[in-house]
């Protein structure tokens, strides 16, 4: 069965979705990603969906779910490179994904992720 590769870059995980998502693939991505976050002790997840051209409400909700799951596991999620058509579809479906952070491209997403983890590192140090 095909799987979406999850790459480790330092303390971050990089997921690039290059194929059309179907429901089973989305479920296996959730499984793989959560276990990878734990095993790699990742601080952040970057999901690149610039090649994704079609979404339905299930896939849309999956992004929200992944972000929520990562947060529980102490990792920030940034979704990058969403196509205009995908953004319009998600909004029309009523899924504006309030809990998901977004960026235009990988570079900006990485900056955002670094900023977020740095800020959290400071908070943790402050409270300790």
């Amino acid at each position: 069965m095909e799987r979406i590769p999850i790459l480790k870059m330092g303390e971050y995980l990089l997921v690039t979705i290059q194929v059309d998502m179907h429901d089973r693939l989305a479920m296996s991505l959730q499984d793989d990603l959560t276990s990878r976050i734990v095993s790699a002790r990742a601080k952040g997840v970057l999901i690149d969906i610039s090649a994704l051209e079609m979404v339905d409400s299930f896939i849309g909700r999956m992004f929200g779910d992944i972000a929520a799951m990562s947060r529980v596991l102490d990792a920030e999620t940034v979704v990058v490179g969403m196509q205009p058509a995908v953004a319009i579809t998600l909004v029309e479906l009523g899924l504006s994904l309030p809990g998901v952070r977004t960026a235009l491209n990988i570079e900006r997403g990485m900056d955002l992720l670094r900023g977020l983890t740095a800020a959290r590192g400071r908070d943790d140090a402050g409270s300790a």
């Binding site: 979704v79 990058v80 490179g81 969403m82 196509q83 205009p84 995908v86 953004a87 319009i88 998600l90 909004v91 029309e92 504006s96 994904l97 998901v100 977004t102 960026a103 235009l104 491209n105 900006r108 997403g109």
Partner: protein, 305 residues
Amino acid sequence: MATDASVPLHELLQKDDGTLVQNWVDAQINAPSFRSDRISRQEVMDQSRRFVTLLREAVRSGESDIMGPAWIGVRQMLDDLSVGRAQQGFSPSETAAFIFSLKQPVFDRLQAGGTSSEVLSRVGSTNTLLDRLGLYTTEVFQRGREQVIIRQQQELMELSTPVVTLWEGVLALPLIGTLDSARTQVVMENLLQRIVDSGAAIAIIDITGVPTVDTVTAQHLLKTVAAARLMGADCIISGIRPQIAQTIVHLGVELGSVVTKATLADAFGIALKRLGLAVQKPSNAARRREEEGTDGRAAADRGEG
């Protein structure tokens, strides 16, 4: 019936050539509705002669349905003529008068010879045929006008939603006119595509030119903002007039976390600040240096000249 209708007309067109066209052209030019400012006598002459030639061929086929394959030449000619006249600014009745003015010269000829009942049936069937052709010109004319209207609507839609770059990474979308669903779609697509193309991090939607904001318009604006956020760009809504601010509150529209500013300048200021940029006056020394620099260049230009 088809043959009964077309045979006398066919014979007539076959026998008579020059004078029928001549009489018809005279009838057209002498009619009170003739637009000598829009079309020349020569043009009318050419069109009439071509039409009679095509009509003769079509009638000879014996087919009575003007939408049939034998009439394709006549139809094409009328298509061109109607569309051309629609663009020249003729009215529909002036365009249809081209066909209807042919009735009188044809009927004059059909009346010669035969019993009165024969004449009546000949005239009647020819009348029906010419009526149908006349209505066909009106239909085509109308279609031509509709195409013009549709094209203008599309142009208006595209013209009225420009996306401008204010600074590297800052886009502005000045909206003018009422926002309905169709326009919002165009606005949204334009803006999102430009965000992708330019990689802008901040988009300012200026609604100074939007006359009224109701719940539907607000909903559309919020959708655009949400879609831009999903792509990773922040949106600022600016140009909110006092009355519109009141309306938004009275309607109970929840703008949520969307940043709103009264003027485009304020929104631009915020955008620059977020990008870590600032606008400032140059110091005296810097200004002097710059002036000297331009003077020096000007002197050099003069020297070369």
